[in-house]
């Protein structure tokens, strides 16, 4: 009599088993999220290349494109940008921890390091978002 919980646990097996961070330690959560955020950032990198390719279309076209993402009609992208910054700051902070831990440093305090670095990164991210928001408000006159 398989229950919903059991079938979820079954997914520990197989190629996508690593995604199942339920009922695991904080290190596993950090690991799964590091991978997912890494893939998201790589996808964004190529989207970024694509957007920047529009520079070749000249100043007016490029500025129109960027303005449409920022002040409308496609300003929904700002929400995506905020999510992206969350992913980037998370990946960076956890990356610093992994760099230290995987080189053999701070292994006894890796969970504490995770919380401290992630908290620091989230504070930095909020500061970044605040200032970037101010720039958007002052620049567009919306």
């Amino acid at each position: 009599m398989p229950s919903g919980g059991e079938s979820m646990l079954e997914s520990d097996n197989g190629t996508l088993g690593w995604l199942n961070f339920f009922h695991k330690g904080i290190g596993y959560f950090a690991y799964t999220m590091h991978r997912i955020s890494g893939i998201v950032i790589l996808l964004y990198l190529y989207l970024h290349f694509f957007v920047l390719s529009n520079l070749l279309r000249g100043g007016v076209a490029f500025n129109d494109l960027i303005t449409s993402f920022t002040y409308g009609p496609y300003d929904i992208f700002i929400v995506m940008d905020i999510l992206l910054s969350l992913v980037i700051f998370y990946h960076g902070a956890n990356g610093v921890r992994l760099m230290l831990n995987e080189a053999g440093y701070g292994l006894k305090h890796h969970k504490l390091m995770f919380f401290i670095l992630e908290s620091g990164a989230m504070i930095l991210m909020l500061l970044f978002l605040y200032y970037a928001w101010q720039v958007l408000l002052s620049g567009g006159g919306v």
């Binding site: 229950s3 059991e6 520990d12 097996n13 197989g14 695991k24 290190g27 831990n101």
Partner: protein, 248 residues
């Protein structure tokens, strides 16, 4: 819910991949550990239930299984400590099921063998001579020598779940255990094995092997320390062109 009984949901399966969950009511008064529950089932409710067990005291490493979503030793898992009347028992993930809760543990030992988990000496031709070691020298690797080869770490490791070639936590911890042994001289040989594409570079420090290890071996820590020695070894090799990398 019947508070007099534990409800054991046991995954039953065979080599062909057929599986189902059987439900057993086990009186709480009769058992303390999950293993005792399984023994009760096989003695009183269903004699065909297959599972491995031997010492019942967390030394032999036989009764590894997935209990309530986590790889654990059935003998040292107190049923009451699970905090639930329902106890879900299934075979260890990342291993091939032979029958019910019995899995094929061979791949685990094959990986273990690969890292040469024995003392390697230059003066190998004079057996019978006792190799001395101080208590301080023993303390350095003592923790990593506590492994009982239960295979829980491999079941918990996300990389082992998808990459069959990855040596896995137990084997890599064993490699470090012998590298740290003052009597051993085989470190360069082992680093050749653990530094490859199936070695330490596959570990991303999810740390789940350490979470489930019943003997506090801390394999994830061992792998990171092994990686550190691997870096200097490989850098030296890179600047020593032409010579064999494993030579001392």
């Amino acid at each position: 819910m019947d508070s007099e009984n534990y409800v054991f949901l046991v995954k039953r399966g065979d080599e062909k991949g057929n599986s189902r969950f059987d439900r057993f009511n086990v009186p709480k008064k009769k058992i303390s550990t999950v293993l005792e529950g399984l023994v009760y089932i096989s003695e009183n409710l269903d004699g065909t239930l297959s599972f491995r067990h031997s010492c019942r005291m967390e030394i032999c490493g036989s009764c590894s299984m997935q209990i309530n979503g986590k790889p654990r030793m059935a003998c040292s898992t107190i049923a009451e400590s699970l905090g639930s009347n329902t106890i879900r028992v299934s075979p260890l993930p990342h291993y091939q099921v032979i029958k019910d809760l019995v899995v094929d543990i061979d791949p685990f030992f094959e990986k273990y063998r690969k890292v040469k988990p024995y003392i390697i000496r230059k003066d190998d031709k004079s057996p019978g001579v006792e190799l001395l070691q101080t208590p301080e020298q023993f303390k350095i690797y003592e923790q990593y020598s506590m492994c009982i080869k239960c295979g829980l770490c491999l079941a918990a490791c996300p990389i082992s779940g998808s990459d069959d070639d990855y040596l896995g936590p137990a084997a890599l911890a064993a490699a470090l255990r012998f590298n740290l042994d003052s009597r051993d001289e085989g470190t360069p040989i082992r680093l050749e094995i653990t530094g490859g594409e199936s070695g330490t570079s596959r570990c991303h420090y999810a740390g789940e092997c350490t979470e489930v290890c019943p003997k506090d071996v801390d394999p994830s820590r061992a792998i990171q320390l092994l990686r550190r020695t691997g870096i200097s070894h490989e850098l030296k090799n890179a600047f020593r062109r032409g010579k064999h990398a494993g030579k001392r």
